[in-house]
Symmetry: D2
Subunit: 470 residues, 4 copies
């Protein structure tokens, strides 16, 4: 028999998964565990070694309820019913027939009567931001993003039987297709050229004539997973007798080494200019006379010297490249892209979000946040903050006030007195363990309590025990 | 004994009021009835004759539950708890002590622990847009706006005992103060000068020294109403032993005859220039030599003639003033300012919002909107649409896709084939009666059904009976 | 015999004219005299009574040298040679043949070899701003503008034999065609409709089919004048055996009573709103229900009252219309449009422009501007300044630092201490007489000298005698 | 004895220099010769080896007329007299006394009476763009810029006896001080830190307390030269008994290797991303957890690998760096910065600028540009054009339509049919020799003549003999 309280007792599907994750102390472990579940029974190690950015992966599970609770057509119906879904902004109506790809979005609100009429007439519905309408999708992605270290997005696709909603194309993101309902027939094609391997930008719609033979052809069923890297052309259509609902989880858009260099190189050059006079020395007076495309075939010792000099200066940039600072800049961008965290019941009870301050019986109750030297605290999650040294000062970026809608809020940050930097790094390195406020590396106890209270009020810190017993 | 189902059976307070209003067929009557309730026992006729834009009105009701259900501090607490309230954008923390008016808004989200801490320390909380957080306030204002023909807004003010949150000042709106909880001591002062009677713009914060004696001093209790016109200086503070919660309903900002003329005069001049050559004739060659401030004291026949000519041209503008078109332009602006309508259960059942098209058991159900020549329809409400003749064509402006947040959506309009104009005017003039689609003044039956279906899908039309029996 | 020093002694043509004008003391008389010469032998009085803005005027002079010295093709050649003329910005190359109007401007500088090649191939050359290249045209227009009280502009047109450069059209300016060289065949057509009489905007190019019979057909010869009001359609072509050069002097663009009202009405409404509470009173709550185009055919007492109220408010605007201030605003615009004044030798010698301060023999010489209480001064010209009361203070607008190129300089003004206002008005009203600085209505002698020195340094004042004898 | 017609016969000073330069066939030689004259008797070779960007150079010539004709205070006086000089835009009035540096510019035009009054009161006058007012300075700089391969600018400084006009500071340009009149006492200080050696940006005004001992102190006399590199602090004041006029010729602003890299690195990264998949591969999922400033002190193999990977990618950029294309982009910028060429009499006669097309005796004369296969042509100067391959096509940038005022004209370019590229490179490589049109590497004779005519019309080509004998 199974142990009480074990996985079975929690039920399967995504609800059970999230409950299990909620019992893990470390947000990084939660994220890793969710990723493991996403790929299971394939191990993350094997996936990383053989598939990630290399080749498609098909996981057939024969377990239709594997993703149960993540999202459903009934939830899409409910979202339409709420009146909050607008054509174009949130929902696309598309069709692809006889080689013609069309978008049929009317203006305004997507009410059920109109949206279902399109569906009934053979159109696909693409919900662009299911995390804004489904708390479960939101929670799912907000955990997963910490594992990727890169924004995790999603679209949901509903396709009526016997149709195709999109032309063949490739995307600029790593795609995980989670088949939620019904079936879908997929054809996947390898990148056609070296330049289309891991491309920076998505393709236009392609014609069938531009494709060769698929490298993979499969009918996905509920519970199955299909992964393919950016650059792999794909098209999916439904069987005559079954609709399809899937969600595509995406990540790693503009998250390459080259993207890091785009941040790094200007900073490296700036630093080299400041620190190394060789970069500030003038160009030769006569260089325009022997350099330039028109001179590129000429043999000239001055050309050789010029090119060597430039190459040497590029090589020497290595000495000035502020790699860690550039990573922090990317982290800052990532934190802006992030979904805000979803709290477990327990996390809520231990944070400002569950703090019992309230209006009751004509007055306020339990308002004071009484943090003392003995209060034990830790970060809410590991990945919700990042310290960056900027010209304006030390800035603490955080995700807890982000929106469920991409970039609807500006990047959120707090200017931090430099003498608090050590304490914040201490919180990061101690995580997931709790530390008592007393142990903060601040000068005075007043500072320690002040910092802890400030971070607690911002939702960044949790306490080991509830601050107030209600 | 009271009849079952009569007002008493519906319960008092705002919930009962809204149920009663929901049984009125005509949205204009609902609006008038709500306004009557707001002033009761003073009659709207008396109010219009003696108070509106003239003098404050105090209604003491001795009925603490009169506004019950409209809004409460508990609802404010719930809004804070939702995490959707942000300092600055939605909530202001203010204080006024020893003549100093301060705003204490931190950055970011207004969580209960932080907001109540400010309150506990003597600060007032002003919720800027309660209609975004309370469906009842939303419904209340969306009905009322149709009576005013001008945007109805609201702020809610919570003040701790023994404090004052704002400096004395006057506003640029007609103000209705509804005391919801506790008590508040008000002092009202008459406009100090002719120029401050019905002013176009609000005043800065005033000092006590700038005020004379109040013309009205009163302690409002729950259930009471205090109205005062724009330009009346006011200040309110709480008694030592009671907090205060009130909501201020506002209207008539920039809604004067002069504001209409601001739209009208350029259009009148444009029309005069096009139609009357006298406006296109050149100025006298020498006019700069005798006109102008430096010449204003000179007696000169040419001055007299010039001034008479100008005055005559101003007077003649009357012949070219497109008053109705200017009113339509104001109506278009007003529709953009409007809150979207809140539907009663019955309205919902008869409109696209309650249409049973849905996803069920793996497929769509009841999707077709079957409007026939015999379907009886009418406008959802009278005030939700307006036809405007514009250069681009005939535009139908409508409020049903507006946001609960002021101007968060662009003005919504549909271009209308001019041959449908008569049918839309027919719907307006028939309201609140239903008409069968057959009676639309369109050329063909196909046109009639097409127009009705289109307006039904946009949520503008309702049917007399549900289109589908579920 | 002729009197020595009479007109004959000065030579004819424009050089002689300008010399004669230079001997007139009053810039307004110079302007009037130039205008008289432009129309001679038709008198300005007759022109004003029968032609201006009414009908074309043809003046045949039989005196080919009448305009001698104003502008010539040789001067156009010299301008091209200077390298300062650019295609598009300054020179247009056009053709009109078989009903097709084309512009052939290449990019860049208009060098003689290229421009004359176009001409030789049958293209017309239009020099857009001859006043920037010809000091005589500049001087001519800068005098004339003072008479019009409205910007005087010019284009020069060179057309090869047997061609036409432009399609028939009408303009939005009063046009004076001065035939300088060769001959041109003109056809003039009356405005086709009431709406095209004195139109606000120029027409597009018209086809011959859109025209009726010309109301005037004539061959202009050198020395002749052709005037036609805005709205008169015109086309001109050359005879097979002669090229044509003419200059078109234009004025009165956007200078109508309606244009004055465009400034005046918003100011009048603003003033009415400030001073008269009737304009600030609210509109009736229910006006949207009976006003508007959809209600315009309804008989309703409320409509009648509403319309009467609006009409009454328009009529009452007369009481608040700041006509003189609006004229000053137009004058300010006009001063920005103005060409800077051209000084006669004598004016130069008596102004800061001829002041002998200089570098000589390794040091400065004659630098001090010694204005005393006895110095007699007057304005350089009457029309070069205007006082305006503005929110920022009393501003003195002036033309002396304008550019020869339209609006190349920002409007030039000096903020004036209000206590100097009287002295500046005194200078205006004394003009063209000199007044001694002593008589300025300032408080102290120091102020008088300070103001006079300041205005002298800005080129606005001249002295009766040179300040320094060199 | 000297040969007749030798240098002596041409007179000394700048006029003689320019005449001598005019006889050199190759514009590059002219530029080199002018630079030699500027440094004489120091040789350019010695200057390059020991002074350029390294150390100040003082050349005492004891020859007061060495720069005669370049610029003088009398020419400044004439410029003021022209009315074209405006305070602020063209002329700064400055003072530096008792440690306080002030600018005294009034608004508007700088008339002699006002400017000399400032001078007489001890202010310095700085003419910002003498090349716009002096044709000789224009010609001088337009030749010199070709030698520098970088914009050559100038300011002229006039300082009254016994004063100083500017606070000590350093600039971001290489400075050549040419003492034209009088004397000036200079103190030069070495850069104070490594970071101030060849700095990218000028310093703020410095106080005397921030300076150490001057490394050079000297009184410059007319005819002397003082050169100092960017970063050398300097201050100059006049002796009690003599004014000073000098001109500072500047170059090499933002013309360093680092500036080239600023163009080059983004292009290199773009190319690497397109051609090398390694740059497009994703960053490690976990890198945010061990990279970043907070982790920079941690020893971690993953850090080492990450850093090595980045360094390797930087090094590999060398393989993708389009150095020649980046140089062409700099050349394009330089051509926009350039002064337009000044033509010698002979050059003018052989170019479109002296082409005799003209208006004479009522008609055009000598209009046709008759270039045949035998016409011998060459570029006007070597440095006036540059070919760049751009996305829009092959563009020919040229300087001949630039303005004497910095960037007053947009960059000038012509799109070139790619099949003409070889011919333009042929013209560049043949320079300064003439080639017959026949030898152009175009396909047809018609193409050859068409290209030659086009370039001749644009002022880019000259012919060996005048095309027309007048």
């Amino acid at each position: 028999g199974k142990r009480p309280g074990g996985p079975a007792a929690e039920g399967g599907g995504v609800a059970g998964l999230l409950r299990r994750l909620g019992r893990l102390e470390d947000s990084r472990e939660r994220a890793a565990e969710l990723f493991r579940w996403l790929l299971a029974p394939v191990s993350p190690r094997e996936f990383a070694a053989r598939r990630w950015e290399r080749a498609p992966l098909l996981v057939r599970r024969g377990e239709p309820g594997y993703y149960a609770g993540l999202f459903s057509t009934a939830e899409l119906d409910a979202a339409l019913r709420s009146g909050e879904v607008h054509f174009g902004a949130h929902l696309d109506v598309t069709s692809y027939a006889e080689g013609v790809r069309e978008t049929h979005n009317p203006a305004g609100r997507a009410l059920p009567a109109v949206a279902w009429d399109f569906y009934q007439n053979g159109c696909s519905l693409r919900l662009l931001c299911p995390q804004a309408f489904s708390a479960t999708v939101w929670q799912f992605l907000s955990i997963l993003q910490e594992h990727f270290g890169s924004m995790a997005g999603a679209n949901a696709y509903l396709t009526p039987p016997g149709t195709q909603g999109f032309a063949p194309h490739y995307d600029d993101i790593e795609a995980f297709v989670l088949q939620l309902e019904g079936k879908k027939h997929w054809r996947i094609y390898s990148p056609r050229t070296e330049a289309e391997v891991l491309p920076q930008f998505s393709s236009a719609n392609l014609t069938q004539a531009e494709l060769g033979e698929p490298m993979l052809e499969v009918v996905l069923e509920a519970g199955d997973l299909l992964y393919f890297p950016r650059g792999f052309i794909h098209q999916g259509d439904t069987l005559p007798d079954a609709h399809s609902l899937h969600i595509t989880v995406s990540s790693y858009q503009r998250n390459s080494w080259g993207d890091l260099l785009e941040n790094l190189l200007p900073a490296a050059l700036q630093m080299a200019l400041e620190e190394d006079v060789e970069y500030r020395q003038g160009l030769p007076m006569d260089y325009l006379g022997y350099m330039g495309v028109a001179h590129s075939d000429v043999v000239d010792a001055r050309r050789t010297a010029f090119v060597e000099k430039v190459q040497n200066l590029i090589k020497k940039l290595i000495d000035y490249a502020p790699i860690d600072a550039a990573v922090d800049q990317r982290a800052k961008s990532f934190l802006h892209d992030c979904l805000p965290p979803v709290l477990t019941q327990s996390e809520k009870a231990l944070s400002v979000y569950g703090f019992p301050a309230r209006w009751q019986d004509g007055g306020t109750r339990d308002v004071d946040i009484l943090i003392t030297k003995d209060t034990e605290v830790r970060l809410l999650h590991y990945g919700i903050i990042r310290l960056c040294n900027e010209e304006a000062g030390v800035m603490l970026y955080y995700t807890t006030e982000n929106s469920r809608v991409y970039h609807k809020e500006e990047p959120k940050s707090l200017e931090i007195d430099p003498e608090y930097t050590d304490s914040i790094e201490f919180l990061l390195s101690s995580y997931p363990n709790h530390v008592s406020v007393d142990t903060f590396p601040c000068e005075t106890l007043e500072d320690k309590i002040s910092l802890a209270t400030f971070l607690f009020e911002k939702g960044i810190l949790t306490t080991r025990k509830p601050l107030v017993q209600v």
